[in-house]
Subunit: 426 residues, 2 copies
């Protein structure tokens, strides 16, 4: 396709999505759930065929010299497909939030005013690599009564096309418009530029991928973007605290998994508890091979720990998202300095305080300006499933509209509903 | 100021606002209310001085040949100032929503997860003409725990400066940072361009003014915009309906006031009720001098009405926001055609159905894609005060974040709060 054709093609997708969104918005819950269960069944019935389609992507990736861990992320194994199918069934079993009316109150004029939850309309999703995102996005879109346009990575195009075909079969089986979930069929990069600049058709863009991709999309988009940038998360060990618990939580927050955005990258420790706490956590990190980027005071307390990998922290370390067995460690005077440090250096994703002091806990919750603030829990919990949202389309580090893990409600908006009996304005 | 100086100046405002916002976010409700009551007192104490400052704006406006209705909008009469003072006191008397925690639920892991309402941070407000907006925006900003940067029109600069000085005195009296409310002191247009492009300092922009201003700001802003474009509102008279009520409501929706955005600009009438209803409403409109832009069928029914000003409607009329004694009138088959017409031509602001049919009412509420949908009430009710929001910073015709009248909650966001007892992720 040339640029003109791509623009025309993307506009056609947009106009079809817009038309489908009106039908999706009024679809009864039972019909949307029927489509989700049909999709689960189709994914199981077509597991072998999907693997054949997936094999072409894998072959191309290997031929292009992609590293094996990257090839792994592309794989549609029977286990991955079963997880997708179960996800669809879980969504089908969840209550439908569309149409719920909240806060209906009578006003002095006599009218009753409330808000009805409705789908946002059409969302565009731009993602890389893992083709199972196609099913996650499609199923969330169906459940939330939206239409969506999906643009996966070129490396997964054959898998994504096969998956999207099944989604459209499931929609048709339930009597819903196939255009409710459309995959961009071209790998031309121009399609992304078009997709993010059609406010007449697309209500919000959700990018998932590297920071470069997300920054580029945020800069160029002509519609709102639900974006997730860095996860520079902190665990602050307060004085007083339960030191044994603090060791367990600070360990989990860093080492349970290194790559997720909700892993802690910075450890702040109150001076009053540092002499007791630091050698204990230092020994845990040393045993797991976690490198510690330390301030001078914490170096002094950690130096005696056998096998500790200590590196002097630079200013840059306080802002760093390592996603690796590395953690920065800094001593602070107390909760004031901890809050100030976090509000300055954190990426406003997730930050936790470990404390037994009620006032410190309340101040931390109120004053730390992050999407998730925690008391006595591992930052690793910042996740749509752990929060009970049932599903997650992404995590927002913005304050506008959706903040933190974004589930079905993040794909909805509230419109005002006014019920009268012939009232007029005086 | 030259462009460079304006950029530097605006950045200084931004950085000061950002610093002040952290203090405002943690200010206790009593302290914010103290500032609001101090502001009310200061407005009353300085009424004479404020009128002197205002007189300079009025003089300049008259010298520039501004029409007297426009000059009127600039006036800070004792009545206008008293209304401002009362508004501050009403806000002070309202419950504080900042810090409220909603939906706290225990999850299978043991953690409890809820959401805390927090200020959005810093908002920028760009407005024209009426200087009392300075007090409305400042008082809402204080109550909601935000900081704001206000950019009024050059025609009201002396009044705005005087009002902003009082706001800062009130903040200081309560022990709050004066930078929590800053007025852009230069009338240089470059300052607007800067203000809307500082995502590091400003979280959201709220423009109030003509459509041209709002479109320009939406196009160029690098931060989210809460925008209100047209108000092409509809009243649909269904069959069956209470015809006497329909006449009363359709009259009020059009004629109670012609200039507001929530006045009805289009009247749709079901064929089944048109022969009875149209001559009645036609006589009302004729008596009030309202011009009717009619489809051929409604012309036939309205032609016998004495004094009716009938004009054949063009395609353009269905999209028009008249803000004048003009209304478009079209016959439709029923609720399906009404919904389709509205979703096609409406500006998604406010649309009402007048009906006695329960199913029609429910379908209209669910399927009309507008910020406010009403049953048996005048579209003129679409307003923050009438909805019980206590105050209104603007009306949003967007779906993202805030939709419809925007009160204090529209200036807040929800962050996740997680309370644990040492839980870790498995």
């Amino acid at each position: 396709m040339n640029a003109l054709n791509v623009a025309e093609y993307t506009h056609t997708l947009g106009s079809q999505a817009k038309a489908a969104s009106a039908l999706m918005a009024k679809a009864p819950a039972a019909v949307k759930n029927k489509a989700l269960r049909a999709l689960a069944r189709l994914l199981r019935e077509h597991t072998a065929a999907l693997q054949d389609d997936n094999a072409r992507d894998l072959e191309r990736a290997r031929a292009a010299g992609l590293a094996e861990p990257m090839v792994d992320r592309l794989k549609l194994t029977p286990k991955v497909l079963e997880t997708c199918a179960e996800g669809c069934e879980q969504l089908a079993a969840m209550a439908d939030v569309i149409g719920e009316i909240i806060g209906m109150k009578q006003q002095p004029s006599g009218i009753r005013v409330g808000q009805m939850r409705v789908p946002i309309g059409v969302f565009g999703m731009i993602y890389e690599s893992r083709p199972n995102v196609t099913i996650e996005a499609a199923s969330l879109s169906i459940k939330s009564g939206n239409a969506c346009i999906l643009r996966g990575g070129s490396e997964a195009i054959d898998s994504n096309k096969a998956l999207a075909r099944l989604v459209q079969l499931a929609l048709a089986e339930a009597g819903l418009p196939e255009d409710a979930v459309q995959l961009v069929q071209t790998t031309d990069r121009e399609a992304v530029g078009q997709l993010i600049a059609m406010p007449q058709f697309v209500d919000v863009i959700i990018p998932r991928g590297g920071k470069g991709l997300i920054e580029r999309i945020s800069r160029d988009a002509k519609v709102p973007v639900i974006k997730h940038l860095d996860g520079n998360c902190h665990t602050y060990v307060d004085a007083p605290c339960d030191v044994a618990m603090a060791v367990k939580v600070a360990d989990n927050a860093k080492t349970q998994k290194y790559s997720p955005c909700n892993a802690s990258e910075g450890l702040l420790v109150a001076r009053g508890v540092a002499a007791e706490f630091l050698p204990l956590i230092g020994a845990v990190y040393a045993a797991k091979g976690v490198e510690m980027r330390v301030c001078p005071e914490s170096r002094a307390l950690l130096a005696p720990v056998a096998g500790a990998k200590l590196v002097d922290a630079t200013e840059q370390d306080w802002s760093e998202e390592y996603l690796a067995p590395i953690i920065s460690i800094k001593l602070v005077e107390g909760v004031d300095e901890a809050i100030a440090h976090i509000n300055h250096y954190s990426s406003h994703h997730t930050d936790a305080i470990l404390t037994t002091d009620h006032v410190h806990a309340q101040r931390f919750l109120r004053e730390v300006d992050s999407a998730s603030v925690m008391v006595n829990a591992s930052t690793r919990f910042a996740d749509g499933f752990e929060y009970g949202l049932g599903a997650e389309i992404g995590i927002s580090t913005d304050k506008f509209h959706a903040r933190g893990p974004v589930g079905i409600e993040g794909l909805t908006s509230l419109k005002y509903v006014v019920l009268g009996e012939g009232e007029v304005r005086g």
